[in-house]
Symmetry: C2
Subunit: 485 residues, 2 copies
């Protein structure tokens, strides 16, 4: 297993040659969604980026175990006490797991629309409470956490004696001291930078479990430490997530792992960049919080039209995962055209025929394609190279260039394979609808010609046959239209 892949490691702030710990195995952990609301288009970008990374690693021949968690421990509160008393039955009360189910199903449906592969494992926070409690016990035992009023806090100062809390995000403790504004439970902490790894539940808190310290729930950062270690080992290859997770989430993960398992967990940290809309940060409060569903239906004031899932995926892949990406109608419409052009290339490339010799250097073209992806998964450059391939297709079609049988076969398999398997782009099956419409327009034209030559029996027979096939024909002053019955 030899590749020339290089990745940008957030921890070292450098490009590094990708050398997995136990090749050909690769362990990759990505922080997944919190399933208490509809997934945000920014999340979709993050998961699409890691889908590209997962696909490329598989394409290179690595045996990848891709773990993406589901955060299902939520902080829903029950209704007020009076209301609660009036409700006798369990069924009358809100059940967090019902919310979890709705948005988990929705998340899976959404990612399937965007043609993302399922991860190898999708562990849930509620599925790993015993392991989380055990990790807390280890951290306490090591002197890196303390109990306070039923909650347990990670002791950042104790940890910082020998470790660099802030190594990933570049923050330092003094700065954190000034910037920490979290007041809830602040009195229980020895230091404002300390963070909860177990929280005692308030009475109205619904999701809670018995643990040695209280009836409570684990701190959010904990689940990722536990689940990545359980499924990938104490040190694994890639940890990914949106860059808003660098601090505090990922910083805390490193600290928990080092304090509890005694090991630096991650070799390569990969972070995806943020989305904007019309140049502004996406936020529900500002009216720019567009959901994937709204993008697909076009049902949002900022959208001038609907965009297909593959158009959106293609649009996302046209930016590098570490660049910010601005959603706007002009750029999305350009992507729609570009995507169609690329898919036409996929159709056309199969129709090409070979000549005795080649006038194009396909080996070089292919090498450039892989060079782009080997450069930290640079999909925009790879896509540009694929458009160069579309140009080749058209030149060959027009007889201006030609390929030998072996070059043509290499070109076809690389071009199509890369678009389908690595970029995860697929035809959107408009084929049939397009064909129905094409056939209908043609038949209506034949009917018009019959009417023009006053062959009304043919014109009527066409109308009747179409009616039997489920089409309603309407002759208006602007011509003839049809609808499906």
């Amino acid at each position: 297993m030899e590749s020339n892949l290089h990745v940008y490691n957030t921890l070292s702030r450098e490009m590094e040659k990708f050398e997995p710990i136990n090749p050909p195995f690769v362990g990759m952990y990505v922080c997944g969604p919190t399933v208490y609301s509809e997934v945000h288009i920014g999340n979709v970008r993050t998961f699409t980026s890691f889908d590209l990374i997962y696909r490329y690693l598989l394409h290179l021949g690595y045996k990848v175990r891709y773990v993406r968690n589901i955060t299902d421990v939520g902080h829903l509160l029950d209704d007020s006490e009076e209301d609660k008393i009036s409700k006798k039955a369990r069924l009358e009360n809100i059940e967090p797991m019902e919310v979890v189910q709705r948005y988990t199903v929705d998340f899976h449906d959404t990612m399937k629309l965007f043609n993302a592969l399922s991860p190898s494992i999708e562990p849930t926070a509620t599925g790993h409470l015993i392991e989380q409690i055990e990790l807390i016990e280890e951290i306490v035992k090591g002197g890196f956490a303390y109990e306070s009023n039923g909650s347990v806090y990670f002791d950042v100062q104790a940890y910082s004696k020998n470790e660099n809390y802030g190594e990933l995000s570049g923050r330092n403790i003094d700065e954190l001291l000034v910037n920490t504004r979290e007041l809830d439970g602040q009195d229980d902490k020895r230091h404002p930078a300390d963070f909860a790894i177990w929280k005692k539940a308030e009475p109205q808190h619904i999701m809670k479990w018995h643990a040695p310290w209280s009836l409570g729930f684990p701190g959010w950062h904990l689940e990722c430490s536990v689940m990545s270690t359980k499924y990938l080992g104490a040190t694994f290859d890639i940890h990914g997530g949106g860059m808003d997770l660098k601090f505090p989430h990922h910083e805390c993960e490193i600290a928990q792992n080092k304090a509890g398992y005694g090991q630096d967990p991650v070799k390569y940290w990969l972070h995806t960049n943020m989305l904007t809309f019309n140049g502004r940060k996406m936020a529900k409060s500002e009216g720019t919080g567009v959901t994937p569903r709204q993008m697909i239906t076009g049902d949002h004031p900022l959208l001038t039209q609907a965009y297909s899932p593959m158009t959106i995926r293609f649009f996302m892949l046209q930016a590098h995962y570490r660049s910010t990406l601005d959603f706007n109608n002009e750029a999305l419409q350009a992507a729609e055209k570009g995507f169609k052009r690329l898919m036409r290339g996929v159709e056309d490339v199969q129709q090409l025929t070979a000549e005795p010799t080649s006038s194009l250097n396909i080996d070089q073209w292919k090498a450039d394609l892989y060079t782009a992806m080997d450069d930290d998964f640079n999909s925009p450059i790879a896509i540009a190279q694929l458009f160069e391939g579309v140009r080749y297709v058209n030149l060959i079609k027009d007889g201006k260039e030609h390929l030998s049988a072996s070059d043509l076969s290499l070109f076809q398999s690389t071009f199509t394979g890369f678009i389908h398997d690595v970029l995860g782009l697929k035809s959107e099956d408009e084929g049939d609808d397009g064909q129905v419409d094409g056939l209908m327009q043609f038949i209506l034209q034949l009917r018009n010609e019959a009417k023009e030559r006053k062959d009304y029996s043919t014109a009527d027979s066409i109308r009747n046959t179409l009616q039997e096939l489920g089409f309603v024909i309407k002759d208006g002053k602007d011509g003839t239209t049809y609808t499906k019955a």
Copy 2:
């Protein structure tokens, strides 16, 4: 909330009027799949039956919380010791949760093909270990279980002093004593009828957790007691499952709930019957273990053709859920025809036009439809009544019967709504393909007519236009055929 629904309760062995504990709420728990292999077509039947029940309850206006668990605690063993030592990394070893993920995704995809609604909650066994350990502690505390060599066994004799172990399945302890052939761990049990609620793990067992008795795993029956109670309350309305689960699984569930929570958990026990193939029990070992995927592709020696998911669903609904159902090609082919006839009815009913008066009694027709479903969800009778509806459609179309505007509107909404919402049947979108084929046959006929009258320019123009639309035309001695390019 008033309905006239009656259900057959396995516990009382009688039809009973359905009266939920806290109307309009209904709590329903169904034992879900074990996700260590592809789901069996018999499981699909069970889940399709409960999908029908869920849909009908929703249709009647009940607020249903439908819980269907996923058994993800498996008994995979690790490789032999030598092999294990040679593998240094976590990633090189088999990971049960990777198997779980594959078959969970597959299960969801399959149920979606059969148009089953997602349950309200799909809890996992691994997600409820703390709750399971707590229930074991309660059962031990009550004197209904004992520890033995790190495992914990339910004490059937102690329980039977005041309770009737066997009330659901109709078995008695003496019989159980004679019939119990389970040897594993038998020495640890006080009585052969006792069953494990916690098992100490052998060293090669992969999935195991720390509990007060040992590093081990919960007995299989336990998860359903815990998860039904957690999400539906200590006593809830409906518990369902395949009838092979009556004993020991459901019998043990009742015993665990009564011993641990002090309550009889379930008001109505509903059990689905088994499938056969060509009159024989389905079993992998006998070559009759057909998977849903094989039914859909037709790729099994016993299948003479492929069957669409809706054909299979319709076929299943044509039998009552408490009847055995025999899969065979003749019956499936008949169902395929019947399903198409029903869907043609759905199309045609919308085309009917009203008259001033009615010659058919639609109120009676509708009442009969609901009477069928109110009789323990008798879908075969309901389907027969819908075919009576198809007969009405055709009579009205032929002008032999007629409906007033209000009767027609009632007939249309009941007929269509029942098929879509209650039976969960939908058109399989062959519409387009059928339409493409219909249009193509028509155009090819026009082209033949042109050729016959020696109008070759029209014939050629048709061929060229079709080619542009992606069709390849072939003139052979048996006529003209086309393929999609």
